[in-house]
């Protein structure tokens, strides 16, 4: 599905974009292709969803979103889709996924909630709980970031 050239382009685009006037030209020259071809390729990757987005990955802590809570929810299985959609509507929610349960892990919906502090995260979670009518949920605050990197594909 991916040609050798596609893979080389992915490898180049997962690195940092050069901070020079014509960064794509620089990458294209290294790959031995034209800038125009590279730009078309990036647009096509974006259209196909292969590139989810092209731009800056930020560290939200440093950017001022100091509190992030993973809010986990115990939602009746038959309501997950309805509830997932309600939760996704909240701008404070960056991610919302359904995941499996385990004997010692009974929460099946996961949302990431971002706020300036813990109280704000708590308030947001309560607001969501009320909107979605969910009684059983928990906020798991992160106490330390042990690793945060970008995946390197095809290396």
């Amino acid at each position: 599905m991916f040609s050798d050239l596609d893979i080389k382009i992915v490898r180049a685009l997962q690195e940092d974009l050069p901070l020079t006037s014509e960064p794509f030209k620089e990458i294209a020259e290294e790959l031995g292709i034209s800038e125009e071809f590279l730009l078309e390729k990036i647009n096509s990757f974006v259209e196909q969803g292969i590139i989810r987005r092209f731009g800056a990955a930020i560290r939200h802590r440093e950017a001022g979103f100091t509190a992030n809570a993973m809010v986990v929810w115990d939602v009746e299985d038959e309501r997950t889709v309805e509830v997932g959609r309600i939760m996704a509507e909240f701008s404070e929610v960056s991610h919302c996924y359904q995941r499996p349960r385990y004997p010692d892990w009974n929460y099946n919906l996961f949302t990431m909630v971002h706020g300036k502090n813990r109280d704000q995260c708590q308030e947001i979670a309560e607001k969501i709980a009320q909107a979605a009518d969910i009684a059983n949920f928990k906020l798991l605050f992160s106490t330390d970031e042990l690793k945060k990197t970008s995946m390197k594909y095809f290396v």
Binding site: M1, F2, V10, L13, Q14, E15, D16, L19, T20, S21, E22, F24, E35, L39, I42, V46, I50, I51, R52, R53, F54, G55, A56, A57, I58, R59, H60, E62, A63, G64, F65, G84, R85, M87, S91, H95, C96, Y97, Q98, R99, P100, Y102, D104, W105, F110, T111, L140, F141, S142, T143, D144, E145, L146, K147, K148, T149, S150, M151, Y153, F154
Partner: protein, 151 residues
């Protein structure tokens, strides 16, 4: 961060221009110079606010599998287990959280590899059996843009 920094971050999280002179285009949009845009981005990187500027790929579409895992680590073993878990290239995020399952990490592996095999290896290396594999079975929202005007 000044106002232009915030506007700049809001734009380049999603709408980074895919064109010959992207920094010049950003400068035109924000009413400043290409040089200033490049300086600002360099500074935001230096300060650690921008982790990387480039393509953010969909692992599934590249033929990879991804999941979220949680492991119960005794307090005195956190450093040791952190080193084991973080040594995997496919572990891209790892956080300590307040719960019995206190270490949470994301794992991405090439399609030909089995997540379960990697977890079995992690269990052996850490000596901890309590690792749960929580792959997303339904996606309702995946959006990692942050509005800096909210900060």
């Amino acid at each position: 961060m000044d106002n232009i920094d915030k506007q700049l971050l809001n734009i380049i999280q999603r709408g980074f221009p895919i064109c010959s002179q992207p920094y010049q285009q950003l400068a035109d949009e924000l009413g400043t110079s290409e040089e200033e845009i490049i300086e600002k981005i360099a500074k935001l990187k230096e300060e650690g606010i921008i982790r990387r500027l480039g393509g953010i790929f969909d692992s599934k579409k590249l033929g990879y599998k991804s999941t979220l895992c949680a492991i119960k680590v005794p307090q005195e073993k956190i450093q040791e287990v952190k080193e084991v878990i973080n040594s995997y290239k496919g572990v891209t995020h790892n956080y300590l959280r307040e719960h019995n399952y206190n270490m949470w990490f994301t794992l991405i592996v090439p399609g030909a590899e089995a997540i379960d095999d990697v977890l079995a290896e992690m269990r052996r290396e850490t000596g901890i059996d309590d690792i749960i594999n929580l792959p997303a079975v339904n996606f309702f929202k995946i959006n990692v843009n942050f509005d800096l005007n909210e900060v």
